[in-house]
């Protein structure tokens, strides 16, 4: 044998078959959404990119959160009234790039590798595939970002004694709210990945969506653009995220839980577009 794999003698799978009819001995049961979820869970846990992106996400969130806590503890904060929790936003903002990457890859890697043809042959319902991928991806990123944000919030409030104490509403927004927001941003990336079908392209677009509005706003000096500048400043994705922590880059902007409504609305539209695109386009 020169080949690394061995050929097995082939045993007949069904005794005494009749010409023209073949009945599979595997039981026929109608698969449901749960089976699609199980399949997508196997897919996401069995590739290395998931471990890498989520690993880097956790390192960024905890590392930067801890770094800020140490710096704040060592230095006098002076007069600022900035809530303590907002210092967790930097790690989350950088970490969101990891979530975006994972969201895009969840679907675009299937196009990149050709796996999508196999996937859709196994499950021809595009809606079910998109929904199963969305649910699995959303839950994973929601749990990890929420856990990370909670840990950072606990560390920072414990290590930085001065400043206004967060209320229970602040706590909830800075943990569960942030987890939901970032997971939804990842879901938006998944939808963009389904529309673009190209990993690098979709990731670039999503990083642009996160950063460009704020960068553009910084260069809008003229008075005629001030309205647009203020809008971009207030509603860019970093601004929405910081608003969840109870701070604002500019006023008037989103406050309280409003950011979640905005991102959910945008994502719903994008997912609708992705569904239509998946249903109508050739693979």
């Amino acid at each position: 044998m020169t080949t690394p794999y061995q050929q097995q003698p082939h045993a007949p799978q069904a005794p005494g078959p009749q010409l023209g009819t073949y009945t599979s001995p595997i039981a026929q049961r109608r698969p449901g959404f749960g089976d699609a979820l199980a399949s997508e869970w196997t897919k996401i846990r069995s590739v290395r990119s998931t471990i890498w992106t989520l690993g880097v996400l956790v390192v960024l969130m905890l590392g930067l959160g801890l770094l800020f806590a140490v710096l704040l503890r060592a230095n006098d904060r002076g007069e600022t009234n900035t809530p303590v929790l907002v210092f967790g936003a930097f790690g989350v903002l950088l970490g969101s790039i990891c979530v975006i990457t994972l969201g895009v890859l969840t679907i675009s890697s299937e196009y990149g590798t050709g796996m999508i043809r196999t996937t859709l042959t196994a499950c021809p319902s595009r809606g079910r595939i998109l929904a199963a991928k969305s649910v699995v991806f959303f839950l994973i990123s929601f749990v990890i970002v929420t856990a990370g944000a909670t840990l950072v919030a606990i560390l920072q409030t414990a290590m930085v004694p001065d400043g206004p104490r967060p209320t229970s509403g602040d706590w909830l927004r800075a943990t569960v709210g942030v987890g939901f927001y970032i997971a939804m941003l990842g879901l938006l990336s998944l939808a963009v990945g389904a529309l673009i079908r190209h990993s690098a392209g979709a990731i670039t677009i999503m990083i642009g969506v996160v950063l460009l509005p704020l960068v553009l706003a910084m260069f809008m000096f003229t008075a005629s653009l001030s309205g647009l500048r203020d809008f971009l400043m207030a509603y860019s994705i970093p601004s929405q995220l910081i608003a969840l922590y109870g701070d604002q880059l500019s006023t008037p902007g989103p406050s309280g839980w409003e950011s979640l409504g905005i991102i959910t609305g945008i994502t719903a539209v994008a997912l609708g577009g992705a569904f239509v695109s998946l249903n109508s386009r050739d693979v």
Binding site: T3, P4, Y5, Q6, Q7, Q8, H10, P12, Q13, A14, P17, Q18, L19, G20, T21, Y22, T23, S24, P25, I26, Q28, R29, R30, P31, D35, A36, A38, S39, E40, T42, K43, S46, V47, R48, S49, S109, E110, T113, G114, M115, R117, T118, T119, L120, T121, A122, C123, P124, S125, S280, D282, V283
Partner: protein, 333 residues
């Protein structure tokens, strides 16, 4: 049973598949033959509902593909060897497919065993050779133990042992009563595996016939004669009323001629023969002649004018037109 009716696919103004209608019957291996770019893969993708037909329809046991509850238990397909995620192990690539169709996980190990990949089940698919990738694709097709199996160019990239294995596997699967639909651009490969033959060229149906019929109609046998006195030989044949063809290289071919009779004829006229041999035109030649008008990508430079590469010598228009076309169309449409 797969039924195609008036299946058409247009990309802009280019027609990839043109009004294709045929049936793939169970219990036999149906070969789907055509030159590169004839529309074989497009047709197969439309069968699986991956591409939307411009018009026409495909029915699998009377149902549209999207109506199949668990497609993998109905129809298994090998489209191309690399339709798997390279970063995932062979086992996990199959496991996620199995889960989506409620196929027990034990079946994954079973099919890996069938295709001989058990030893590399935990290895990532991207490290696989083309042949191993092909085997993994076949394993995914067999996963649901389906009654219909579709293979797009399954022998591509396989070593002789692998090719032999695929041939036997397809025959065995058909013997179990399954419907086997296999595409190829190699006539010689089809001649060995297929019982029924569907030939397309530029998206159009050229033939829908049993393999035995195709061989009978297209294996032209002739006697080849070479002589230094070929002008006299021509006169003799002419006088004897034997129809013949002159080839470009100075030989003479007599269709369905008897070697003995021709030898005796030459002896009677005291002609010197340098060659007197019985010949059989290959099915490959018959296939190339059939599709010559519809080959999309001709190689230039090495080809002789007026014929496809490696075609039989130019017969100066004496060749009768192909006989299979009309017959095939009658059956198919």
């Amino acid at each position: 049973m797969i039924e195609l009716e008036g299946l058409t696919k247009r990309y802009g103004s280019k027609v990839a598949v043109d009004q294709l209608s045929f049936q793939v019957r169970p219990g036999v291996v149906t070969g789907f033959l055509g030159p590169n770019g004839a529309g074989k893969s497009t047709t197969m993708r439309m069968l699986l509902d991956l591409d939307n037909p411009t018009s026409g329809s495909v029915r699998i046991d009377g149902k549209h593909y999207r109506e199949l509850a668990e497609p993998l238990k109905y129809i298994g397909a090998l489209l191309d060897a690399k339709a798997m995620h390279g970063g995932r192990t062979a086992y996990n690539n199959l496991l996620c497919l199995a889960q989506s169709n409620r196929i027990p996980a034990a079946r994954v190990s079973e099919v890996l065993d069938t295709v001989g990949l058990t030893a590399v089940a935990k290895k990532k698919a991207k490290g696989f050779s083309l042949g191993m990738g092909q085997r993994l694709g076949i394993a995914s097709a067999l996963l649901g133990d389906p009654e219909i199996l579709m293979f797009d160019e399954p022998v591509n990239g396989l070593d002789p042992e692998g090719i032999h294995w695929i041939r036997n596997l397809m025959k065995q699967l058909a013997g179990e009563g399954r419907t086997i639909f296999v595409s190829s651009h190699l006539m010689s490969e089809m001649a060995l595996t297929a019982d029924h033959l569907i030939v397309i060229g530029q998206g159009r149906l050229l033939a829908d016939t049993s393999m035995a019929d195709f061989i009978r109609q297209n294996s032209r046998s002739f006697v080849r004669l070479r002589s230094p006195q070929w002008e006299r030989l021509l006169d003799v044949l002419h006088q004897a009323g034997v129809p013949f063809l002159q080839t470009g290289d100075g030989a003479i071919e007599v269709d369905n001629g008897r070697i003995e009779a021709l030898g005796e004829l030459a002896a009677q006229h005291q002609l010197v023969l340098h060659e007197l041999s019985g010949q059989q035109a290959s099915l490959e030649e018959a296939f190339m002649q059939m599709t010559a008008g519809s080959v999309e990508y001709h190689a230039h430079g090495a080809t002789t004018p007026g014929g496809p590469p490696a075609a039989p010598p130019d017969r100066g228009g004496a060749q009768e037109p192909p006989r299979w076309g009309a017959r095939g169309q009658d059956k198919g449409v």
